[in-house]
């Protein structure tokens, strides 16, 4: 025993090194498991506040652009609101709440931290558990899909961007409904790859890619991007489609977090069916 202690003491430098590296690897692995990581992320108070201050200053440079987008979106929403429709149908106009139950609610958030030039990119938003944000909620913007909420603290949350090696979004071709997983190969922040589209599907450059209905987080038909090019590798029966993303990840500043009100119900039902078998 005494020899052992002497041995450890003599090589204390090596052992301290091994101990610290073990802690690091433990943190990395736990984070990779896509569970809530605890302390070491940008949602903790100190780093989030520093980033928020710097983002506040930066935002002034983008005000003009953002205003234009908001005005555009307002106009779009106004054209969809009931006021613009009721005039046409005159006295027959009615809203029946028992038929249309609400499925999604949207929370507007500000991006306080963002990256695009790494292999695994994350965003930090200025709302958290106190504002009702939860793990695994979808994040979109007026131009398209952004990512999925990963960690939540009291007032902040981090988002795994679409630009991440582990991010997969179930998407489909809008015109004919063929679906497949969309991933990011890490080359360029404005292009992603759509796989598993059968080779008999007629594809054209410019076809719209949207989210499919199979995702629990994303509402159906949210814009993802357009087809840039497609190819079939010899011996395979599927197209690999290069998709130009409609969201400019470089310019994100306000996003919406989507809450699926019926998610729990669907999850429980599906779990019950699986355990029955």
């Amino acid at each position: 025993m005494r020899n052992l202690i002497l041995f450890v003491w003599k090589h204390s430098f090596l052992f301290l090194f091994l101990l610290l590296e073990t802690i690091c690897i433990y943190l990395v692995v736990r984070n990779n498991n896509f569970q809530r990581a605890g302390f070491v992320n940008s949602a903790n108070q100190v780093s989030a506040n520093v980033l928020k201050t710097s983002k506040n200053i930066e935002d002034y440079f983008y005000l003009k652009n953002e205003n234009e987008n908001l005005a555009k979106e307002n106009a779009d929403l106004r054209s969809h609101s009931l006021v613009s429709f009721s005039m046409l149908v005159n006295d027959l106009y009615e809203v029946n709440d028992t038929v249309y139950s609400q499925k999604y609610t949207y929370t507007s958030c500000k991006v306080v931290n963002n990256s695009i030039n790494r292999r695994n990119n994350y965003l930090t938003l200025n709302k958290g558990a106190k504002q009702g944000i939860q793990h695994d909620m979808a994040v979109i913007t007026s131009t398209g899909v952004v990512g999925v909420v990963k960690d939540v603290s009291e007032n902040f949350c981090t988002v795994m961007s679409l630009l991440h090696s582990k991010s997969t979004i179930s998407s489909k071709i809008k015109k004919n409904g063929f679906f497949g997983p969309l991933t990011w190969d890490g080359e360029n922040f404005s292009y992603a790859t759509l796989n598993d589209i059968p080779s008999h599907v007629q594809l054209l450059k410019g076809d719209t890619i949207v989210t499919s209905a199979y995702s629990l987080a994303f509402p159906e038909n949210i814009m993802i991007g357009t087809v840039e090019s497609f190819e079939r590798k010899s011996g395979e029966f599927f197209f690999t489609v290069k998709v130009k993303l409609s969201t400019d990840f470089k310019k994100l500043s306000y996003v919406y977090v989507v809450n699926n009100l019926q998610k729990l119900e669907q999850e429980e039902l599906e779990k019950r069916s699986e355990t029955d078998n």
Binding site: L20, C24, G186
Partner: protein, 172 residues
């Protein structure tokens, strides 16, 4: 002694702020991610105890991880870098050893010595960092290119900052 500790703590905070507020926001393309903060480990004084070297490298890495959302990756790379530092210093030591009171900087030991010493440490740090980040071999060569290109840019920043502080000292 106390003076040197305070100076190093201030340097720690400054380098972290420069890294996360300025360099992190520079968009130089996907292959170029310079990490100037490693300068802190490079120019810690020669007589720093080995355990303190490891612990301060760990603290530096974890702080950067908080801002980069990388949970432990930077810390792992920094601790590795701190672990090999004494060996590299021994490898490059002058015949009579290092003079007491000097620091491993360009001012004291000259450009060729500093370039080879910090170059090896920076490449090792970036190598560990990028391969932990990707954690697979399928993108081996593109990751390798990232290591080399980013190291060169970190190197440029490190040398540049050395001259910046050097001139300041002369004016005082």
């Amino acid at each position: 002694m106390l003076n040197s500790i305070i100076r190093n703590i201030i340097r720690f905070i400054l380098l972290v702020l420069v890294q996360v507020l300025i360099i992190k926001n520079l968009e130089l393309g996907r292959f170029i991610n310079p990490f100037i903060y490693v300068l802190f480990i490079i120019i810690l004084p020669f007589e720093t105890p080995k355990w303190l070297l490891l612990l301060s490298a760990f603290a530096l890495g974890i702080t950067i991880d908080m801002f980069y959302d990388t949970a432990g990756m930077h810390a792992a790379a920094c601790v590795f870098m701190a672990y090999v530092r004494p060996g590299i210093l021994k490898l490059f030591s002058p015949r009579d050893g290092y003079e007491i009171g000097t620091q491993p900087t360009i001012q004291y030991l000259g450009v060729p010595w500093f370039l080879s010493y910090s170059g090896i440490l920076i490449v090792l740090h970036h190598f560990v960092l990028f391969y932990i980040e990707i954690f697979r071999l399928s993108e081996f060569f593109s990751t390798f290119l990232r290591v080399i290109v980013s190291s060169v840019f970190t190197m440029l920043l490190v040398v540049f900052s050395q001259y910046l502080f050097h001139r300041k000292k002369e004016q005082e």
